[in-house]
């Protein structure tokens, strides 16, 4: 086990896949939003110079070029930077990458990875803070991964690159510099397998990405007050590990879902709807969602923190749910 940052683990996955498969290509912009961690990717630049392309500011064109190349088996990783920027390529992601397999009656597949950095990043204001996960989830044909830690980031990125479907890999700016242990060697983490990040019997918190970190912090505090939290880290939204969610709710009887998208039609809405359909009898009390408030993200960081889901709001919601 080596301790790595989230960014390093992602780069490691990309390096391994580029090494293993000559069909893997990389669009080289602000890779993964890693910013100050760019030294981690210098060796990729040197080793795979013929498969790396420096982009102009042309999200739509590049998304569609990567999709077109995917039709001939080139597996392009396209880091789009801030998730807000992917709206500029919405048509290409939803209507081309996400639909080509279906429209060809299965003849064509689109192995492409769109990597974005979502969420409240500290002063990003309205146009640099989007959380597009639930909008994407409403579009058929796209896999969605949302890791919360370096070890998962690496294994999920390897799966995303190898997948024959278009994948949107949703990271968070605030995860990039966090570090923890990553298993040695190459390993894949399949999509659709949630991970229980903490076991507990009183309340289930379902989350993904940075909100798992917040949930873990909240769980520590709640535990001192006698509330034991079980945390289900979804890791991928498509496919969704319904069994893991239902199993945990079966154990605790209480459900809280945390998500950075605004509440209506969010990840939280969908998880709760799923439990309502398939496990209504498991619930002892109505489920609760903790989302970004249904407003735009103000530039002021005090207000930004106020509109976002955070540890305090999770603690407050969990307490209400349990009492």
């Amino acid at each position: 086990m080596a301790v790595m940052t989230h960014a390093e683990a992602l780069v490691e996955a990309i390096r391994e896949c580029m090494d293993e498969d000559p069909n893997v290509a990389l669009v080289w912009g602000s890779l993964m939003g890693v910013g100050g961690n760019n030294e981690h990717v210098d060796h990729i630049k040197a080793d795979f110079a013929d498969r790396i392309f420096h982009p102009p500011i042309s999200e739509a064109a590049i998304a569609a070029v990567a999709t077109g190349a995917a039709m001939d088996g080139v597996r392009t990783i396209f880091p789009m930077g801030t998730a807000s920027f992917m709206f500029r390529a919405w048509d290409q992601i939803i209507h081309e990458a996400g639909a080509a397999h279906y429209m060809s009656n299965g003849a064509v597949s689109i192995p492409v990875v769109f990597h974005v950095v979502h969420g409240l990043r500290g002063g990003g204001s309205v146009q640099h803070s989007q959380s597009p996960q639930s909008m994407l989830w409403n579009a058929p044909g796209i896999e969605i991964a949302m890791p919360s830690c370096p070890a998962d980031a690496k294994g999920l990125m390897r799966t995303a690159i190898k997948s024959n479907n278009p994948t949107v890999f949703i990271d968070h700016q605030k995860l990039n510099k966090r570090s923890s242990e990553v298993p040695d060697g190459s390993y894949d983490i399949p999509f659709g397998v949630a991970d229980i990040k903490r076991e507990g019997g009183d309340v289930t918190i379902v989350a993904a990405s940075l909100q798992v970190v917040h949930a873990l912090e909240a769980a520590e505090t709640l535990s001192t007050g006698g509330i034991e939290v079980e945390i289900v880290d979804l890791r991928s939204l498509v496919p969704l590990d319904e069994e893991a969610i239902l199993a945990s709710v079966g154990k605790t009887g209480r459900l809280l879902v945390v998500d950075e998208a605004p509440p209506r039609c969010s990840v939280a809405s969908e998880v709760i709807a799923t439990v309502a359909e398939k496990g209504m009898d498991l619930l002892k009390t109505p489920p609760v969602r903790v989302n970004r408030l249904p407003v735009h993200v103000p530039a002021n960081v005090v207000l930004e923190d106020y509109v976002g889901p955070n540890t305090d709001r999770i603690i407050e919601a969990a307490k209400l749910l349990c009492h």
Binding site: P56, S58, R88, G122, S125, L293, P298, V301
Partner: protein, 339 residues
């Protein structure tokens, strides 16, 4: 030659420079976070363009917007308060450095997305045409915008629908060496000129030295008059110098606090940025022009600097004492009519 007009343009350039130096200090002091962009080195273009615009005109800017607002006459107090995300900011603290805008000054919205504001300016031209307001739309944007498809669509549309718009491309592109190093996202256009794109659409096109305030003023004044008369769009490529502090992922004030005395006393100019001070810094260039032409003497120029520096000092105090917006304010204005 209208001396008052030239001095007014210089005053705005100097005001922008001192404003941006204050913004830099605020960021260094961690009074606001995140990424930001300064207008240092491009003051001549912004100040000269605004000199010909009227109240009914609409101007749309970008992530590099501070100088455009100051040149347009927005109070530096409110602009600086916005950069600190305070309640008295132009956007009530919710926009921040990327989105400074002031509808009362004819700058209704600032998109930070590359190319995002270019079609909005054409929309202002469209409204002016329909409403016969006599106003025009002005789009201030960078050369990197030509990498986005919506910019081509907008130029084509403005020509096709004959919209009264002036597209001012402030080309601050890095030189060939930096481009080939691949280290900067801006302007990876291949060889060739962005001006060829509107030319191909049959649009009236001009290029101008964007560091020469008088040249920009004279060209833009002429273009503004013509757009108002003909209703046809015009494209201007202002070739600006890239400020050496703008080569990094965050601005770096490598050229220090501007010493306006360098305009008449070259003895202190030396070192790595000597060429910048002697030949490129638009504030110093214009100051020298004013002196050479007898529009002002060194005392006049120094006096303007003192005056604008005082204005910025007062603006800093105002911004720092402006309150953080209350948390309940986040719900306001999601939809119109809800208060």
């Amino acid at each position: 030659m209208d001396k008052g007009r030239l001095l007014d343009i210089f005053r705005h350039m100097m005001l922008i420079r001192r404003f941006e130096e204050a913004v830099y200090d605020f960021h260094e002091q961690k009074l606001f976070g995140g990424h930001y962009h300064l207008y240092i080195g491009q003051e001549a273009t912004g100040a000269a363009v605004m000199a010909s615009l009227r109240g009914e005109d609409r101007i749309f800017s970008t992530h590099r917007n501070h100088g455009h607002l100051i040149a347009r006459g927005v109070d530096p107090k409110n602009a600086l308060a916005e950069i600190l995300n305070r309640a008295d900011g132009t956007n009530g603290g919710r926009g921040g450095t990327f989105h400074l805008a002031d509808a009362s000054a004819g700058m209704p919205h600032t998109s930070a997305l590359v190319g995002g504001s270019v079609p909005l300016a054409a929309g202002a031209g469209f409204a002016a045409k329909l409403q016969k307001s006599g106003g025009i739309g002005v789009s201030m944007f960078g050369d990197g915008c030509f990498e986005e498809g919506v910019v081509f669509e907008t130029l084509n549309l403005a020509r096709m629908w004959a919209l009264p718009v002036i597209f001012v491309c402030e080309n601050n592109t890095p030189g060939a060496v930096l481009k080939s190093a691949g280290g900067n996202n801006t302007s990876n256009l291949p060889e060739g000129r962005v001006i060829q794109i509107p030319e191909a659409l049959g649009m009236e096109c001009h290029e101008v030295d964007g560091g020469d305030a008088e040249a920009v003023d004279s060209l833009f004044a002429d273009c503004a008059t013509r757009v108002r008369e003909t209703g046809q769009p015009i494209f201007i490529e202002a070739l600006t110098e890239r400020w050496p502090g703008n080569y990094f992922s965050f601005p770096s004030r490598v050229t220090g606090i501007t010493q306006v005395s360098m305009a008449w006393d070259g003895s202190s100019i030396a070192g790595e940025y000597e060429d910048w001070f002697r030949n490129h810094d638009p504030v110093l260039r214009f100051a020298r022009q004013l002196l050479d032409r007898g529009v002002a003497n060194s005392g006049d120029v120094a006096g303007i600097d003192v005056e604008v520096t005082e204005t910025i000092e007062a603006a800093k105090e105002f911004a720092l004492s402006s309150p953080v917006p209350g948390t309940d304010s986040v719900y306001a204005h999601v939809l119109a009519g809800e208060g």
